[in-house]
């Protein structure tokens, strides 16, 4: 009987990333007091600045009438207090063993084959390369997204204890690390790599507690995640994420930054997140089109069903998608 992809196939994520929450302090005070960073609502009178139809734009009278309309909006906003210049962001990352065993699979023969493929990869390539790239993305603070751009300095501390004591890695200037290369030498990255590798191999249970001190300047705006609400009503056009008064970032957003390790897609110029179609939401582009046979499903099926192992880089990519987790079953309909 020829092997077919299981119709029900799913992987649990191997990097269990928590939400990140925001605090703030004043770095210039002798004994800095750490306090929560909360979200405020403000209502602003905006200007009409969108592109207008030619009929309106070319008629000064109509244009004036349009511009006079008040563009009232209520939005959520998060900013440091006026006596605080440093944003503190904390989150944790659980590294679970990656053995290639799916969490659900309804075809035992397929599962056995899949596991042998993953075991082959683990024996041949190992997870050192992937671990190094994940470690680099934690260390370079890519996961701060827009907060990274405006920062003066970013200090990172990674600990294995929930209270942040006895840090295993300290990175004094995360902004100095390159976002596009993964071959930088840095003792912090090396230490993180070791931990992540041990965790993925199942040698020990690893839980990393990451804390960033981001110097932004007094009263500066910071950027928590925006909530996606399908039915917002007309009252507020932007809702930010918060939990019990703390502004926060969604774990999905952090996870996307940590797995931004894919430099093996066709004509790669910069790393993108390991996604089945190489999707980058901010660019609205899928970098791994199924036409080129370089998407996850083409590579994965070829590897598992036809024993056609792709080259080294694509092998890393396929495994990175499995470590990310998700539902990969082949529906009978397509």
């Amino acid at each position: 009987m020829t092997l077919k992809t299981a119709t029900v196939l799913a992987f649990d994520r191997s990097l269990g990333i928590s939400d990140a929450f925001f605090w703030q302090l004043d770095s210039s005070s002798a004994i800095p007091q750490i306090k929560p960073l909360t979200i405020d609502t403000k209502s602003v009178r905006g200007t009409i600045s969108n592109r207008l139809k030619a009929a309106i734009a070319n008629d000064p009278v109509k244009l004036d009438a349009e511009i006079e309309k008040s563009n009232l909006q209520t939005v959520d906003v998060a900013a440091l207090d006026h006596d605080c210049d440093t944003l503190i962001v904390k989150w944790s990352c659980k590294v679970l063993p990656f053995s290639g065993k799916p969490s659900v699979c309804n075809d035992q023969a397929y599962q056995a084959k899949l596991q042998s493929v993953v075991e082959g990869y683990l024996a041949g390539q190992g997870v050192a390369e992937l671990s190094r790239r994940y470690a680099a993305n934690i260390a370079n603070a890519r996961w701060l997204w827009r907060n990274r751009l405006g920062a003066e300095t970013i200090k990172l501390t990674v600990s294995l204890n929930a209270d942040g004591s006895k840090p295993i890695a300290e990175i004094a200037d995360a902004k100095a690390l390159d976002l596009t290369k993964f071959d930088e030498t840095n003792s912090g990255i090396d230490l993180l790599t070791e931990q992540i590798e041990a965790g993925l191999k199942g040698q020990s249970f690893v839980m990393l507690y990451v804390k960033a001190d981001v110097k932004m300047g007094y009263g500066q705006e910071v950027y928590p995640s925006q909530e996606l609400i399908l039915d917002t009503g007309k009252d507020k056009s932007k809702v930010l994420y918060q939990k019990s008064g703390f502004a926060g970032m969604h774990s999905q957003k952090l996870g996307n930054a940590i797995r931004t390790i894919d430099t093996w897609y066709p004509d790669a110029e910069f790393p993108i997140a390991a996604e089945p179609y190489g999707a980058v939401t901010t660019l609205g582009t899928a970098f791994r089109q199924p036409k080129q046979k370089q998407d996850f499903y083409s590579l994965f099926d070829n590897w598992v069903l036809n024993d056609a192992a792709p080259d080294e880089g694509q092998q890393h990519y396929v495994m990175a998608v499995l470590i990310r987790g998700g539902v990969f079953g082949a529906s009978g309909k397509e």
Binding site: N106, V239, Y277, G284
Partner: protein, 309 residues
């Protein structure tokens, strides 16, 4: 095989992104099955590691829950906050499947049944087993959410009830409120002999706003609910009822696990109650949820089989 020899307290487990849609009709706190399933998985892993125990019952106490939802205005409905998923191969946004999520802090107390020899082994090795349980709990999702922190994992022998109740504070323990449901049904039947338990369940979720003119305010209003006097009642799913005959292993197409038998079921509802630990029933064993299987019913109950479900 054995009796309850120890209690395992998993103190203040912080769970992120747990499933807040507990059944087709209710939302909020995750279903009991979500916690029982995690305990069952813990049981299997403990047995695999050579500790022959049975985790026979689970007490669920909630410290804090934060459902990911939004309401633009105090008089409108809530809607769930969704996550935006990566785009599809053609660059368009993937369709969004509505899901409700919650962040919560719960404490679980697990009954450990073991033979006499095993329970002696546990006594000899308390800290190692506590450490092992902590790691196993971290490695497994609970109610679909991931565990991000546990304050403490502690084993008590079966005389530690008072200590456990103290450790649970402040929290509310989820209890079965079947008697309250029967009570409300009987109250309703006094006015309407045809009222059923379903009517009572709906009645409990209803607020009646009635005009009550008084001297002070001739146009006064009063809010009445069947709940009042019964404590903090909540409708909740308590199990499943089969609605078709069972399929043999491998017979049902596209089942998740073809090596097990499968069956179509529907959810059954009852009332639950949030109770402060100081007011729990004196018989501590009645606070634990158990599986019970009878004919075509699969229920979560808080009574032992011997006492009748």
């Amino acid at each position: 095989m054995s009796h309850v020899s120890h209690y395992l307290l998993l103190d203040r487990i912080e769970i992120e992104g747990a499933n807040a849609v507990s059944s087709p009709l209710t939302y909020g706190f995750p279903a009991v099955s979500g916690f029982m399933g995690a305990v069952h998985a813990l049981n299997r892993k403990l047995v695999q590691s050579g500790l022959d125990v049975e985790l026979s019952g689970t007490l669920i106490a909630c410290h804090d829950i934060h459902v990911q939802r939004y309401r633009p205005h105090p008089y409108t409905d809530y809607s769930f906050n969704q996550s935006r998923n990566p785009i599809k191969k053609n660059g368009t946004t993937a369709s969004i499947i509505e899901e409700g999520k919650a962040h919560l802090a719960v404490s679980l107390v697990v009954e450990i049944s073991a033979s006499r020899a095993t329970s002696r082994d546990i006594d000899d090795d308390l800290t190692t087993i506590e450490q092992q349980c902590r790691q196993l709990v971290y490695q497994h999702p609970i109610a679909g959410g991931s565990v991000v922190a546990i304050e403490a994992v502690k084993l008590f022998d079966n005389s530690g009830e008072a200590q456990i109740k103290k450790a649970l504070l402040p929290a509310f323990v989820l209890m079965n409120a079947q008697t309250d449901l029967i009570d409300v049904t009987q109250q309703m039947q006094k006015l309407n002999p045809e009222a059923t338990a379903l009517d009572a369940l709906i009645e409990v979720s209803t607020l009646h706003h009635e005009p009550v003119p008084t001297k002070m305010s001739p146009s006064g209003w009063k809010t009445r609910s069947a709940k009042s006097g019964h404590g903090w009642l909540v409708p909740m799913p308590v199990g499943y009822q089969a609605i078709a005959p069972q399929f043999a292993p491998g017979e049902l197409a596209n089942s998740r696990n073809p090596e097990y038998p499968g069956q179509y079921v529907e959810a059954i509802y009852s009332l639950g109650k949030w109770v402060f630990p100081n007011r729990l029933p004196s018989d501590f064993s009645n606070c634990f949820w158990h599986y019970s299987e009878k004919e075509n019913l699969y229920l979560f109950t808080q009574k032992h089989e011997s006492q009748g479900a």
